[in-house]
């Protein structure tokens, strides 16, 4: 029996988590730290960073459980901007049990417009529409959420209130520390976080480290962005590692064969392409 590695989940907000969220939320209205760019300014700088119009790359996903059992997925991914709209597609190449699985998302700029997402499940041989509201759900067995996959190193400004809270040196690079709090309970529920602390490199405006708390207020994940270097003059993270403190599970994304210059054909971002694969 072939069961596709599909998942469609979302976040359940308990009454306890509501109480914790309410107690955390007022922090977001505190002032930014003096002498530093404001949190909002840093967020805007992050999103203004050049990512190129399009990119193609290989992505190796390493998933390691708390017993050190490792699963590896080899994928090929593409991303392209259409004005403010961003389209991302990921094709799974290996191993056999997930081969030909493919994920496509249209990320719209307007906050009020739901994104559109599709998943191709080879066992069903059908492209399946999936809910985009479960953006805090984990992406195909990794510790990244659907939102992480869509946003990559960018942020969803309208979902958070932003505050700069300090500065620190991470891996030899000066970083501003930014605290982000979801704007309301519904957004917190959708994202799965009640608070995010990010260490943002003050020269290249990319987060080198990020800590995230779940909606109950417990520390949930730490994300490390490593091996950041320029590819065709665009600052690019080559390793992103995320540790889930709740489960002891770790996911490492390793990017290679990155190309911003070749361009990506529009037809790659279609349901037909999901079915056909690479």
């Amino acid at each position: 029996m072939k069961t596709a590695q599909n998942k469609f989940g979302n976040l359940l907000l308990s009454s306890i988590s509501v109480a914790i969220f309410v107690s955390v939320a007022p922090l977001s209205f505190a002032a930014d730290k003096e002498g530093q760019p404001s949190g909002m300014e840093i967020a805007k700088r992050i999103n203004a960073r050049d990512e190129g119009i399009s990119v193609s790359r290989n992505l190796r996903m390493e998933m390691i459980d708390r017993h050190n059992k490792k699963r590896v997925r080899e994928t090929r991914g593409f991303r392209k901007y259409y004005g403010d709209e961003k389209r991302t597609v990921i094709f799974y190449l290996k191993p056999k049990n997930v081969k030909e699985t493919a994920f496509l998302t249209y990320d719209y700029a307007q906050a009020e417009q739901d994104d559109d997402q599709w998943l191709y499940l080879p066992a069903m041989r059908k492209v399946r529409r999936i809910s985009a509201s479960d953006r805090g759900d984990y992406f195909l067995g990794t510790d990244f959420t659907y939102e992480d996959i869509k946003k990559e190193s960018k942020v969803s400004i309208e979902d958070y209130t932003w505050k700069s809270v300090g500065e620190e040196v991470i891996d030899g690079h000066h970083c501003y520390i930014v605290e982000s709090i979801p704007v309301n309970k519904q957004v917190a529920k959708e994202l799965g976080y009640s608070k995010v602390l990010s260490w943002v490199d003050s020269k290249i405006w990319m987060a080198r480290q990020s800590r995230r708390w779940d909606i109950r207020g417990n520390e949930l994940k730490t994300i490390y962005t490593r091996d950041i270097r320029q590819v065709q003059n665009i600052w690019t993270a080559h390793i992103i590692e995320i540790s889930n403190h709740k489960t002891g599970h770790t996911t490492r994304f390793l990017f290679s064969d990155i190309d911003y210059s070749k361009g990506v054909k529009d037809k790659v971002f279609t349901q037909q392409a999901l079915r056909r694969g690479l």
Partner: protein, 454 residues
């Protein structure tokens, strides 16, 4: 002789196609050697599944499947896919002995090795892109529709019912030699298909474990009447008996929509009967495949945590069994309208819930119609993922409201190692023995399986 010539032409045409594809592949391979390396990828699945019948206290199957796949990337955006299957079942109860394969065209048949083993070229197709058109040529599966586990539009390929509907559709769907063209037109895609392969549903023989007994599916002779069952009349003209289909796919204001049309032979033969009176009344049954036009469409869209999806189909000239003794041929000709409406909900972390309503309406109701004018099936699926998707627990429930019969299928799978998955499932049939599900009430089973991929 004409039939023989047609068959010969058929075989020659398919062989020509086959040789043409290999020629293209060889040519591209040569080009590849001169330029860059040719990308050839080999992968395979090895699966074993043991099914134990709890009601009859006996094994239903002990099956081994080896499914190799070769993908060759050719020049000019072309690729060649070959998927084979070697399958053995030492219990030999699903297809006892030497199955006739009469329903299957000669080029699509399995090779039988004794009673227990068969070998099959499952899929063999060339994909190539020319301008705005994408062609898939060869033996392939073409899947339409949005429903899970129910078929309104997913009828382009026939199905093997050796395990009723318990086998995965991907395994039970029978690939056909087809020409499949997808043409991009602005934001839409027009799909044109031509299927000269005259292969139809593989229905279980009377002595097999999952043989149909429901009166809605199998005609029942009155007491004291003998039955003369003739061989099935099967279409055999390469061009004029081919199936043709068109599908237009589009994405409009957040809606995925398709419009579908299929001119095809329904894959289940119609058991036309004639009665000869005399000292020994005899019913002569002559099964025959009949043409139908299928017109329909699908839609799906997401609304917050919900996904709404559906498919609708209208079929002309369908035939339904009647128990009216005065009926001249034992069947009622009628158009049929069928639809599936599905609602998926993913409002709980790592959990997926789905309900579907399927209804089929016979539009020309006549006295003696064996099935109900309106047949209704409701399905419910609950799935939850654990441990970063390494453990998946689900239960699928199908319930026919007409006969109050159904099927419940709980399943737990575990991705034990990178390439190894194990699972345990239970299939429980219940309800009226005249029902489509209830007829297998004595076939409840527990299944253990292991799959290894590389």
């Amino acid at each position: 002789m004409p039939a023989f010539n047609t068959k010969k032409t058929n075989i020659l045409c398919v062989i020509s196609t086959l040789l043409g594809m290999w020629s293209l592949a060889a040519n591209a391979a040569d080009t590849g050697r001169e330029g860059q390396d040719l990308n050839i990828e080999f992968s395979a699945l090895l699966e074993t599944e043991w099914a134990y019948g709890t009601a009859k206290d006996s094994n239903q199957k002990l099956e081994f499947i080896f499914e190799p796949e070769i993908n060759i990337e050719l020049q000019n955006n072309s690729k060649l896919t070959t998927i084979g299957r070697l399958r053995g079942d030492i219990e030999d109860r699903l297809e006892p002995g030497d199955p006739s394969q009469d329903e299957v065209s000669e080029l699509s048949r399995r090779g039988l090795i004794g009673n227990d083993v068969d070998v099959e070229l499952r899929e063999f197709y060339l994909e190539t892109e020319i301008g705005q058109s994408y062609f898939t040529l060869g033996k392939q599966q073409i899947v339409w529709g949005k429903a899970d586990g129910l078929k309104v539009l997913d009828v382009v390929n026939p199905q093997d019912f050796r395990e009723f509907i318990l086998d995965d559709f991907d395994d039970s769907r029978i690939p056909l030699w087809s020409v499949n063209a997808e043409i991009s037109i602005d934001d839409s895609t027009l799909q044109l298909i031509w299927i000269p392969d005259q292969t139809y549903h593989v229905l279980p023989a009377l002595d097999s474990l999952y043989a149909f007994t429901s009166p809605a599916q199998i005609p029942v002779a009155p007491l004291g009447v003998s039955v003369d069952l003739r061989s099935v009349k099967k279409p055999d003209r390469f061009f004029s008996d081919a199936d043709y289909g068109v599908r237009l796919t589009s994405f409009v204001d957040g809606w995925d929509v398709t419009l579908n049309y299929l001119y095809h032979y329904n894959d289940t033969p119609v058991p036309f009967r004639s009665l000869t009176l005399g000292s020994q009344p005899t019913v002569t049954v002559t099964p025959e495949y009949e043409r139908t036009h299928l017109i329909g469409g699908t839609f799906s869209n997401a609304f917050g945590d919900f996904v709404l999806r559906g498919e609708i189909g209208y079929s002309t000239d369908r035939y339904f069994l009647t128990d009216n003794a005065n009926d001249s041929d034992g069947v009622i000709k009628s158009d049929e309208f069928a639809y599936v409406l599905g609602l998926d909900w993913s409002g709980i972390d790592e959990t997926f819930l789905s309900v579907q309503l399927f209804q089929s309406h016979v539009l020309n109701e006549q006295p003696g119609l064996v099935r109900d004018k309106t047949d209704t099936i409701v399905t419910f699926l609950a799935r939850r993922d654990f441990m970063n998707d390494t453990v998946i627990a689900e239960v699928l429930w199908l319930h026919n409201t007409n006969n109050n019969d159904g099927l419940v299928r709980p399943n737990v799978s575990y991705q034990w190692q990178e390439n190894t998955k194990v699972w345990v499932s239970v299939d429980v049939f219940y309800g009226d023995e005249n029902g489509v599900f209830g007829q297998f009430d004595a076939n409840d089973r527990v299944v253990l399986g292991v799959e290894w991929g590389f």
